[in-house]
Amino acid sequence: MTESATNDIRAAARRLLADGTVSVVIGYGDAGPNRTVPIFARTAAQADRLVVSHSALNNLTVYLTRALRPVGGRIAIVAKGCDVRALVMLMSESQIAREDVYVIGVACAGVTTSMGQPMSAETVAAKCRDCIVRTPPLYDELVGVQCEPPATSDVLDRRIAEIEAMSAHERFDYWAAELELCTRCYACRQVCPLCYCTQCIVDRSVPQWIETSASPRANLSWNLTRAFHLAGRCVGCNECERACPAGIPLSLLNRQLAATALREFGYVPGIDPAAPALVGSYDLADREEYIR
């Protein structure tokens, strides 16, 4: 992403703040070489800190969820294609009204896996390698140079295939080992724009369906539940994986479910705000060969 995109963003932000369209612009602020941080720009000066770059990793739509939304009324947000998909889900799940958000869409050529990395074939985030929304599915204005979607290099899918090729016992042991590392800090939940529940199921104590101890069994229960609650909703921004201090490959769980949703129901979340929820609708013809 280019100089001009950054300039466009700053210009747009200044304009929107000046003409009172919005009271705040949520975007990426420059934080040194190959680093950005989320910033809430309320003044022209702050607007001039905005940047767009391959280090714009955060999915800022998390700040549109009720608990984190900085103000009522209309908010402008800088969003890449994957971020906008999350926004579409938030709209379809009645979390925010279209008219309450002004989307500065970013035509995105991909971002890096972690902060501080220069962009290269090695450092480009896995999710970007087969991105389907380099141009966001929805926006009020678009910045950045529109670029061709990449030839899908199914890095994640290949990893998933490897795991699926294991025996059930191997799969179980693989995940038991990975999930044993979980510290139950719930960073995966906190960074997820779609984990906006007022009270997460794991914080409900009557009954305590999921134990809060970081025991292997409770960690499995928690991670299964987290993944399932995102079934047909997760847009694959992978913020959960980036935030995980234990380095658990959460993207595999999410993506495997997304693949199932696509295979079984031809469902791709976060494209059309009017589309019915995958878990929340049904089709008489839904497959059921596994049901005796």
Partner: protein
């Protein structure tokens, strides 16, 4: 003073011997995840310029989850069964000073109004072999909180890289002395070799803020609007607290394992969670993110120092490196220090 000279070979032999003697040997894992257990034949690499792991070595003394006791329903009542940890003698190899320092800081709270058996047993059974730290990045600030890359605080033995690639191991505590004699035969003893002549390794990172000033400002600014501004982008994920070598809050829950028996668990918790201070009544004295963020900073730089005379921070920078929204605790301390003067 004299010191042991350790070559790569003797280091390998050392670890093999420790494991053979049934000791648990922990060292920062190559994948950067945290301090992991070494097997006898693992290749041991002491690299003073390696970046700190994602998680600290706190977990070894204060596990993310541990059972305090078991309970079992028996004829109308409950039978309680103690579950003191079975602790193996342990060696932490190559602890960086900002980690080693955490033991002393944590000991204060775990031996304050109540002496915590679980923590102390583990500390007592552990020999810490510290390591001169040659890593620097913009997130390190050990020197601003009373530490240093060559600080021996918390170590029993201390490794210093020598310019010929070998390591010098200094004895810095009586425990260290007692411990090392059993393995002395593995090492060369004598005059120190030339310490590694790398300026970067020995120049101290500059002091970024005055912790005393920070404390002063915090104590006078409980209701300052700064707290909302500073925490505006915080997601409350508490990854910082879980990665921190000295954050030590925990939650206690009873968990049934079977119908009629279970365990009382102590699990890591963090002041960044909304639930952390939520009362049964539903009232929450720290309902807002800003209040929780203020608590985190105030506890580290004001409350803890006032009670224990130590800043609840070793300047390791893990919280900042791991923060998904790039909140920089060092920068915040600098900012507060600035506001103070």
């Amino acid at each position: 003073m004299n010191e042991y000279r350790i070559t790569q070979e003797s280091l390998q032999a050392f670890v093999a011997a420790l494991v053979a003697d049934g000791l648990t040997v922990l060292a920062e894992a190559a994948d950067g995840s945290g301090y992991a257990r070494l097997a006898a034949d693992d290749r041991v690499a002491i690299d003073p310029s390696r970046a700190p792991s994602r998680l600290s070595m706190k977990e070894h003394f204060f596990p993310k989850s541990e059972a305090l006791f078991e309970y079992r329903r028996e004829d109308g009542g409950f039978v309680l069964v103690d579950r003191l940890p079975e602790v193996r003698p342990t060696v932490i190899l190559g602890a960086r000073p900002c980690d080693a320092a955490s033991i002393g800081i944590l000991s204060k709270v775990f031996n304050w109004d109540y002496r915590d058996e679980f923590f102390n047993r583990r500390v007592d059974a552990t020999i810490v072999i510290g390591m001169l730290c040659a890593y620097r990045d913009e997130h390190c600030f050990c020197t601003s909180v009373g530490g240093a890359p060559d600080s021996i605080a918390g170590s029993d033995l201390f490794l210093v890289p020598l310019n010929d690639g070998a390591l010098g191991m200094r004895v810095v505590s009586d425990d260290g002395e007692r411990f090392v004699t059993a393995y002395a035969h593995l090492f060369e003893w004598g005059a120190p070799g030339d310490p590694l002549q790398v300026d970067e390794a020995l120049t101290l990172p500059s002091v970024r803020f005055d912790a005393e000033k920070v404390r002063g400002w915090i104590e006078g600014h409980f209701d300052d609007p700064y707290w909302s501004a500073a925490s505006e982008t915080c997601l409350g994920c508490a990854r910082c607290a879980f990665a921190c070598p000295v954050c030590h809050c925990f939650d206690i829950v009873d968990e049934d394992r079977t119908y009629g028996s279970g365990e009382r668990m102590r699990n890591w918790d963090a002041c960044q969670f909304g639930m952390f201070t939520k009362h049964a009544s539903g009232h929450n004295p720290r309902a807002a993110r800003a209040q929780r963020y203020r608590q985190r900073i105030s506890h580290k730089f004001a409350y803890y120092p006032s009670r224990f005379g130590e800043v609840l921070c070793t300047g390791c920078g893990r919280c900042t490196r791991g923060c998904p929204v790039g909140i920089d605790i060092g920068a915040i301390a600098v900012e507060i220090g600035g506001m103070a003067s």
